[in-house]
């Protein structure tokens, strides 16, 4: 009854239970944080805009991104994954989401930033619907925890219109 094996087993079980409980509490404590992130995205320039040889529209943009996401960080936050997506409707597709740029923010100190960049991923439509197309730029963030549940949310910035002609 009081052999070494039993004691080791009891100790191990207890330790694992405590660790699991602590992980669960750490994950739940994320809910206490009410973040208030702010962001601003501007389309500075349309670098070029053309129809590919196989018929899909492609556009290259220069963006100006300013954001303060520091309030998203809690003690259980490992990193922030953020990306900017262009979202629009076409006659064929009810929703198109095209990721243009993304970044990993490893620490709270670097969560307040301003960056001037052209799109990292190609902005290609399925088809040729981009001339004069209105689209929303959306800043999405995914909070990756040290342990437990992952969170995601977004800020939508509306009202951008692509030019009527290729250039």
């Amino acid at each position: 009854m009081h052999s070494f094996g039993y004691r080791a087993n009891a100790l191990l079980t207890f330790a694992v239970t405590i660790v699991a409980l602590m992980c669960a509490i750490a994950s739940l404590s994320d809910n206490l944080n009410t973040p208030s992130p702010t962001a601003e995205i501007q389309v500075v320039n349309i670098n070029w805009f053309q129809k590919q040889t196989h018929g899909n529209d492609e556009v290259s943009l220069t963006l100006n991104i300013t954001a303060d996401l520091q309030s998203l960080f809690t003690w259980n936050t490992k990193q922030l994954f953020i990306f900017i997506a262009a979202e629009y409707k076409t006659p064929k597709n009810a929703l198109n989401q095209v990721s243009l740029w993304d970044a990993i923010i490893p620490a709270k100190e670097s969560a307040k930033f301003s960056i001037h960049t052209s799109n990292k991923y190609r902005f290609i439509d399925q088809g040729h619907n981009l001339r004069g197309k209105e689209f929303n730029l959306t800043l999405h963030w995914h909070v990756m925890p040290k342990t437990g549940k992952m969170f995601a949310d977004k800020i939508v910035m509306s009202g951008y219109r692509l030019p009527e002609e290729y250039r």
Binding site: G5, F83, A85, S99, M144, G148
Partner: protein, 179 residues
């Protein structure tokens, strides 16, 4: 001489009884593990509710040996979600992030994925000539995360000897333990 026969008989029946008890308790352990696994499958709607990260393509978010909890709901797939997908002709499922979504009016969806730590998108990993993932390729989306725990399974699949030693030791413990 009758009492000797009785004694042997009682010992034998004791052993059988003890053996049966142990068999039943071992069976209980196995079946309860199975019940938990199948129950998780029902709750999450995913055919594998828990996956172990095997590659470093999502670092620093997910490292090798971390565990992901999957959920498969009817909700549409959106950019930014981390999905687990199977490509035709590949056995091991891949955990990567969705970067492009084109959803048609009838709900059919074309999805492009990329690993956070990879330079380019996943078209090189897809089947020959495949440009997009469809709904049926996707096994679930990651909703929760637990670090390091998956190392147990990685070690056991890569060094089977450790698995056999562990199973042997546990079996020995079950056989030799009393009450």
């Amino acid at each position: 001489m009758g009492w000797i026969g009785d004694g042997i008989e009682s010992i034998r029946s004791m052993q059988i009884r003890q053996f049966l008890t142990q068999a039943v308790s071992l069976g209980m352990i196995v079946t309860s593990a199975l019940i938990i696994w199948k129950g998780l499958m029902c709750i999450t709607g995913s055919e594998s509710p828990v996956v172990v990260v095997l590659s470093g393509s999502m670092e620093p978010g997910f490292k090798r040996g971390d565990i992901l909890f999957l959920h498969m709901s009817k909700d549409p797939i959106r950019a930014g979600e981390i999905v687990v997908f199977n490509v035709d002709g590949r056995e091991i499922p891949i955990v990567h992030r969705v970067i492009k979504v084109h959803e048609r009016q009838d709900g059919e969806v074309d999805v492009l994925t990329k690993g956070d730590n990879n330079y380019g998108d996943d078209r090189l990993l897809y089947a020959q000539g495949q440009l997009w993932l469809q709904r049926h390729h996707i096994m679930g989306r990651a909703v929760g995360f637990l670090p390091y725990v998956g190392w147990v399974t990685i070690i056991m699949t890569e060094k089977p000897i450790i698995k056999y030693i562990l199973i042997g030791a546990l079996g020995l413990l079950v056989i030799t333990s009393k009450d």
